[in-house]
């Protein structure tokens, strides 16, 4: 019985000795908030067959609220890509339903061009009439959009930008006639 007690204490000792290894994982991510980096259409009504175009435009040297010096995204992240994703929902009665006819959940990349701007131009043909909303992956609030630098290695800091867009209020709501 005594031996069992000693073995129990030994196992408990090893167990507890690992308790303090880490409180939490350290994640090499910096979250920032910058307004109006996504441009959505100004109109909210389209005709069937029209294209819905939106643009992500992020200067590599980006003015960051609260600081006098602008942030260099590429030198921080060592990445030429900012990633984001979106999907559509269609209104059916009073319910919003996931809608894939314009394309399923889509991951996109805004790529750093020679002018020093991360750019993505997306064009989607609206092939069916109805009431829709375009949803982006949310940033820090439901009204914001998340742009995330592609992380090649954990030794480089990843930047997650929470941004806004015109006409975006938990989604971009539009009608196709």
């Amino acid at each position: 019985m005594k031996i069992l007690k000693y073995i129990a204490v030994l196992f408990i000792s090893i167990f507890i000795s690992n308790c303090d290894s880490q409180d939490d994982d350290f994640v090499n991510i910096k979250y920032i908030e910058v307004q109006n980096l996504v441009n959505l259409p100004t109109n909210l009504v389209f005709n069937t067959g029209d294209d819905l175009n939106f643009f992500v435009v992020v200067p590599n040297v980006l003015t960051e609220p609260g600081f006098t010096t602008p942030l260099n995204i590429n030198e921080t992240t060592m990445s030429n890509v900012l990633e984001f994703s979106y999907y559509f929902e269609k209104k059916n009665g009073s319910e919003w339903e996931y809608f894939t006819a314009f394309g399923p959940v889509t991951s996109k990349e805004a790529v750093l061009n020679l002018s020093g701007v991360y750019v993505n131009n997306t064009s989607i043909q609206l092939s069916q009439p109805g009431q829709y909303r375009l949803m982006f992956n949310a940033g820090t609030t439901a009204n914001s959009i998340s742009l995330i630098s592609k992380q090649e290695s954990t030794k480089y800091t990843q930047i997650q930008i929470s941004t806004t867009a015109n006409n975006y209020n938990t989604g971009y709501y539009f009608t196709v006639n």
Partner: protein, 192 residues
Amino acid sequence: MKKFLTTLCFLSPMLFLAQEANNAEGSSFTAGNEIKWDVLGLITETKIQLTYEHQFLPKWSAGLSAATYQSNKDKDHFDTSTDKQLKNYDIIPYIRYHLSPNQNSYYFAEGSLGVNSGKYKHIERLDANNQAIYQLQQGEYTDLALGLAVGYKYILKEHFLGEILVGGGQNILNDDSPKYISRVAISIGYKF
């Protein structure tokens, strides 16, 4: 911390049972000094920990543990992993109350107030050429930890001893240090 408290709850009945068992035995008190070396820490964390302890009353002793962490594997891992802190050294003065009257085989409770130090990671905004970048930086932390532990000591042929210690503590001064630290050892030593 939950794990620590659970373990203390688990061990406490054993301690009282041991005390009851040893009450009848009794033995004479001899003031003495001990030097101990933590074998478990060396195996599990490449920790080199030496302890000096002085028993000044039949039921009371006090000591000082000093430990340094020497694992190159842990140091390399820290640079590339999501680990938040890397321990460097501990210096732990402590006082112990013996829960059993037997001087050669007894359970004890320990209170400590120790200094611990190491490295931590943080992201810093660095300005250069009128632009800024965020970059991972390493800093040094030093903190003071209040600790509690329980243990068992066995002394063989008046001089050779073995000891098991299980406990933990909480850092109280610095947000960059680990919130909780363990105080666990299986030591061998010499009493003189």
